[in-house]
Structures are given as C-alpha cells and as structure tokens.
C-alpha cells in the first residue's frame, strides 16, 4: 500500500496499491467528496497505471489541482520509485477473555532477569497478563536479546514492537546497518510482533504501543486505527509533558477509540486522566537499582494505576 499526502485538495491522504502496474484499493482519506471518491476508486480498480494517467492528470478542481490530478501524481511517483510502498501498521488481535488486572513493563532491553522478576511479582499480585511496551531487546549481541524474546514467548507476554525491536527484526540495527546477532527465528518473532495491541480491561477498551516512532513509518495514516491516540499523546502533548495543550487534547478525545492508552517511550512514569480516558506512560523496566512496572486494575469506580518498584538485588 502507498500513503500519499496530496497538496491543495480536500483529502489529507490518498491510499492505493499497485499490483503488476494495476491500480488497487484507491481511497481518499480525511476529507473530500465521498461519492466521487468511491466512483474514482471503482472505475480505476484493476486499471493499468499508464492507461489511467491521461484521465487523471491536469484535472483542476481547486488550487490548480484536484483529487484525480493528485492521484495521478502519486501513481507516477510510485511508478518511478519516488515514494515507498509502506508496510501496513500492524495491530494485534484483541485477546479473548476478560482482564481485570494487568501489569506493564517497557524498555526491558534484554533484561531477562528483570522480566522474570516482574512476571512473578505481578502474577502474585493478581495480574492476569504482562504487557511489554516495546524495546524488549537492546541489540547487545551477547545473547540477551535472544533470551528475552524466548522468555516473552514462553511466558505469553504480550509484546509490542519498539524501534530497537523493529531494527533488529529487519536486520538494520545500528547506524551503519551492522549485522544483527539475534537468531533468525527470534528476529522473525519480533517482525510479526504488532506495533499496536488492543485489550479490554473490565468494561474499558485499551490500546498499547511504544510511542511516536510509529507515526514516522511509511504506512502510518493520520486516520488509521488509534492514530488519534498516538498523535495526541506522542505529538500534540509531547508524551504528556506539555500540559498546556490538555484542553485541546480533551477536545480530541471524541476521536479516540480507546479509553486506556498505554505507551512507553520516554522512560518517565506518569498517569493522566482526561475526561474518561486514562493515559499511562510506563517508564523503563530498570531504573538505577530498581526494577519498575505498572499495575493497572479495573474497578467499578474506575481504573486504578500503581507504579511499583523492587530492588534489583533481592
């Protein structure tokens, strides 16, 4: 799929796919004339790009261009390799079964001992699942990443991809594309790990992701699943650091699909409740001489969030 940002027209994005130079799945996203868009998509479905281009280019609607004109431009750029085909943003399947209490870690960085400790502690405290919000691995090349990935599989930890995990999975860790020493099987496991994971906690719907690196991936759409949550939390509020924009965030809540938002980019620990939405920043698993994690529990009175720590030396 290609995601193209047009200029001078109503839709914010144009999505399409190419298959053997044939046009597929055209969508005008974020504005524009819905009926006309569907007509364009229907007429172009399966048509060869070279056959379609003369019909598209040069049509003017506003600002010297139009949706068909911009689509034509995008098709040409795709043909010429000037825009990259994007992998879709992967969202995990919503886990079955009712959760009432869960534990969350982030930035585990290959620390299997810490993961094991938090898994045991949180289980003893009644947590039914442990989530890892990205960067399970650190690219150390000492076997720690393999151990962490295998531990996550063995314990059924619900993992989302962080930027380090993704680079390792794609074999591009390090600025110079240095070879990754993680086993191929574990890289494959990381590769199929979703970027976004959904869950239900009691009667609340939640979403878990690492952070803003998702919005920089070519397949990210401002109008995709949970994009409002990701953009509001990561970009608009700078990971909840800029409290001055919270009034604007409250206005954006009506676009949220989730009422619990878990993310783990900054290493900071913070819980903010705006309206009916709980936004929780989970910091790094290891902080100095402590392992830290979040316990999140559904109660009839609302979601209770506790940040726990335990000494590394125990």
């Amino acid at each position: 799929m290609y995601v193209f940002k047009p200029q001078g027209v109503c839709p914010a994005e144009i999505h399409f796919a190419l298959e053997n130079n044939a046009i597929k799945d055209v969508r005008m996203v974020g504005g524009g004339c819905i009926g006309n868009s569907q007509l364009i998509a229907g007429l172009l479905e399966g048509m060869d790009v070279d056959k379609a281009l003369p019909f598209l280019r040069g049509i003017v609607c506003r600002n010297g261009t139009s949706c068909p004109d911009q689509l034509g431009k995008a098709l040409l750029m795709a043909q010429n390799g000037e825009i990259a085909e994007a992998d879709p943003i992967t969202t995990g399947i919503e886990e079955a079964g009712e959760l009432l209490k869960l534990a969350v870690i982030s930035e585990a960085m290959g620390d299997s001992e810490g993961i094991e400790r938090v898994y045991a502690l949180s289980k003893a405290e009644g947590a039914q699942a442990l989530y890892s919000l990205g960067n399970l691995t650190r690219g150390g090349g000492d076997g720690a990443d393999d151990a962490a990935v295998e531990l996550a599989v063995k314990k059924g930890i619900r993992v989302v991809q962080g930027p380090i995990d993704r680079m390792i999975a794609l074999g591009r860790f390090g600025d110079h594309g240095a070879e990754v020493s993680v086993k191929q099987a574990n890289r494959d496991r990381l590769l199929i790990t979703p970027l976004i994971r959904m869950f239900n906690l009691g009667d609340r719907h939640g979403v878990a992701f690492h952070g803003g690196f998702i919005q920089d991936l070519p397949g990210f759409s401002d109008f995709g699943p949970y994009a409002s949550e990701i953009l509001s939390v990561c970009y608009l509020s700078d990971y909840l650091r800029d409290e001055s924009v919270f009034p604007a965030m409250e206005t954006m809540l009506k676009h949220f699909s989730a009422s619990i938002v878990l993310f783990g980019t900054t290493g900071e620990w913070k819980h903010v409740r705006l309206g009916e939405v709980d936004m929780i920043n989970v910091g790094s698993l290891r902080s100095g001489e402590f392992y830290r994690y979040a316990l999140i529990e559904w109660t009839k009175g609302g979601v209770v969030v506790q940040f726990r720590s335990t000494p590394v030396e125990n």
Binding site: K5, A12, G30, G31, Q215, L236, V245, P247, A248, M252
Partner: protein, 75 residues
C-alpha cells in the same frame, strides 16, 4: 468554526484567505504548536493567535480582521 467564517459578509470574505487545520493530522498539530495554541477552536489572523477556545461573535471577528487589514496586502 469554519461555518462562522463562511457566514461572514462577502466584502470581508473577499479580503481574506481562509485555511482550516485539522488537529487529527500531523500537519494540523504542527500548525497548532507553531501558533502556541492551547485549545480548540482557535482562530489566528496573520499568524497571530487572536481567538482561543471561543467562536467569536461575527462583529468581533470582523473587527479583528479589519484591525489587521492593510489594503494592497492580502493576508
């Protein structure tokens, strides 16, 4: 907000250019931050945040536009 701008008299609409930004998009957020806005809806005139968290009465909006209008300079 856009509706209140659309409802402006034609002689006012002729001297302004209207841009609407959507806070659901990265472009809209970037614009919002550049203007140092905090709330919605917000109205900026000539890159200056003039109305925030309010849809201004038409008279106030017209007055604010006219205060900044310089003939021979569309902005």
């Amino acid at each position: 907000m856009a509706e209140s701008v659309q409802a402006l008299p034609n002689d006012i609409k002729e001297i302004i250019e209207v841009y609407e930004w959507d806070l659901r998009t990265r472009e809209g957020i970037q614009r919002f931050k550049r203007l140092r806005a905090k709330s919605l809806p917000s109205v900026a005139l000539n890159e200056e945040l003039v109305f925030e968290a309010i849809i201004p009465p038409q008279e106030e909006l017209i007055q604010a536009i006219m205060d900044r209008y310089r003939p021979n300079q569309r902005s």
